[in-house]
Symmetry: C2
Subunit: 336 residues, 2 copies
């Protein structure tokens, strides 16, 4: 067990790793902030554990480290953002800033982000929108992992949906963030490494048959949450991202984990909504009425409550990074 | 087995039933068209089987038969629509017409529909948006049927999500339409009437425990599709509808089936997106690439394909209405 590292120090380290690999300083800061925020929230799979793969992709040119996101207004309420084969986070930052500026007059703004990369924890984007008083919705596609319902080929990604809304007073936003696979593919990878079986219902083998063999599952597809209905949502997100942004579909996208191949060029869609006028200024009262009714039920917790308590602890005490990962990050930073 | 009735004749009959109960002619036509479209698509539970309950609600004043939807622009891309305690369909019609007019300059338009009633088949709204070349997203809440995850009280509705997008050439739009309960509550009602058990996993009893007793399930709650993730989507839709439109939450809303009590005053949210500029005019090609990849898989069908084939048959041959229902509709029409 290594000692915790403060979030500020971890952000500096992450940024240095990315810069060393050839990422522009501003982009490196944006990516580092997103990854460290995930670690602070207990989402280690979307945290600095991604850095070695990210750095390798910058070094190989699969991610353009000096890409400058291009933001174009294509309507009074619509932005087309070209991530230009760079990381997703700087493009998302630019999209949110421009969309928030348009929102008071527009009422709703959408930003379609094309030629993009790993979205990270989808809640990170929408929470920052909600912190500015707006509702945020976000969708991303990702490399193929899930088959269409009835099929066996991993055409679509695990395609997250995220939602956040502001709350009354100084309460933090409510954040909902879910990927559309029943379980994360990482759980199957862990089972395969340990030689353990996986529960039926998680995955199909390469022929499209249910399997409890983790290795067969990795060669096959992940099952969506919610069966056929969930598979329909996976398709909806694919159309709202790959098609609406003019980007690659899951089955066309290269891996987020390896340095070889072309850029993944996937898509993200953001929707920002100003709730005041649409709700005749009843939004805040309605949200609190609904959440109060939920919390009056024994055993009910609000989505994100565990994440927020972990974050508070991380802000006070830092986070603990596995020693092997820390050694790797220091090696990347020092170019050793 | 009674003889089929043409869609035009069924629409006339439905409209007459609603007018007889006190619905304004234009509203009656709007509601009738929506219900008959559902019957044509094989969605009888959202078709003219609803008419007796609808007519009773107009007669009792629970639905304002002469309500005129109020459409107000609250932003360059945002509409607030007050259904004014009337049926949802005329308010949705007004919202779509105004939103489509704003869409070419805005790029995205949202319409928040307040003080509304049963949304019907959610795909009906978005399909008409997609038929005009835009992407449509729709959400509705509904009277309490699903508990928050970990709870036992039916706070939230079955809260449908619908999506439609245009397709290349003269192909009909792709429509995705799903409610967020694992199965429709109507299936539990049928089992209860027959004295049959229901499969585990469909519902909880009033204490929040899994049950296979259909009567206990009716006194309890329906389980969401997709477990905890689905429950999070239910909450997301509740916040996008009840809260964002300033309307009743599921647990505050009266039944769509009974004539007593106050109006349900629930909410709907529509989002219309112009895909051309956002996708750099790649949308149509991307959609067809994705759907072609799906259909290349043996055993995969596109969402809505069964619905479209039933519709073609209904347009050619009419639909068959159960004799008891037809007798009831004629009695309502004739005020007997």
């Amino acid at each position: 067990m290594s000692a915790p590292i403060s979030l500020a120090d971890l952000t500096d380290l992450a940024s240095a790793v990315l810069e060393r690999a050839g990422t522009a300083p501003a982009a490196a800061r944006s990516v580092a902030a997103a990854l460290v925020a995930a670690d602070a929230d207990g989402l280690a799979s979307h945290g600095v554990s991604r850095l070695p793969a990210y750095a390798d992709q910058v070094a190989s040119g699969k991610v353009a480290g000096h890409a400058v996101p291009q933001v174009e207004r294509v309507g009074a309420a619509a932005l087309r953002v070209d991530a230009a084969d760079g990381f997703a986070f700087p493009a998302v930052d630019s999209a949110i800033a421009e969309a928030l500026a348009m929102l008071p007059t527009a009422g709703v703004v959408t930003a379609a982000i094309a030629n993009s990369h790993h979205f990270g924890a989808a809640g990170y984007a929408v929470e920052r929108i909600a912190a500015k008083g707006a509702i945020g919705l976000a969708f991303s596609n990702s490399p193929g992992a899930i088959a269409p319902w009835g099929g066996s080929k991993p055409l679509f990604g695990t395609n997250p949906i995220a939602f956040a809304c502001p709350r009354a007073g100084d309460q933090p936003p409510l954040v909902i963030d879910l990927s559309l696979s029943l379980v994360a593919r990482g759980k199957v990878m862990v089972a395969a490494q340990k030689g353990e079986a996986i529960p039926e219902g998680w995955a199909l083998d390469a022929e499209g048959h249910p399997t409890t063999d983790a290795k067969a599952a990795l060669a096959g597809t992940m099952l969506p949450m919610g069966g056929a209905k969930g598979a329909a949502l996976v398709l909806m997100v694919e159309l709202l991202t790959a098609a609406l942004t003019g980007s690659n579909a899951g089955f066309e996208a290269s891996s987020f984990f390896t340095a070889d191949g072309p850029p993944p060029r996937i898509g993200q869609l953001l929707v920002l909504i100003n709730p005041g006028p649409l709700s005749a200024n009843r939004f805040a009262e309605r949200v609190e009425t609904i959440l109060t009714a939920m919390l009056a039920e024994p055993g009910v917790r609000l989505p994100g409550s565990r994440r927020l308590s972990l974050r508070a602890k991380a802000e006070a005490e830092g986070v603990t990074i596995p020693p092997a990962l820390m050694t790797t990050l220091l090696r990347y930073r020092d170019g050793a």
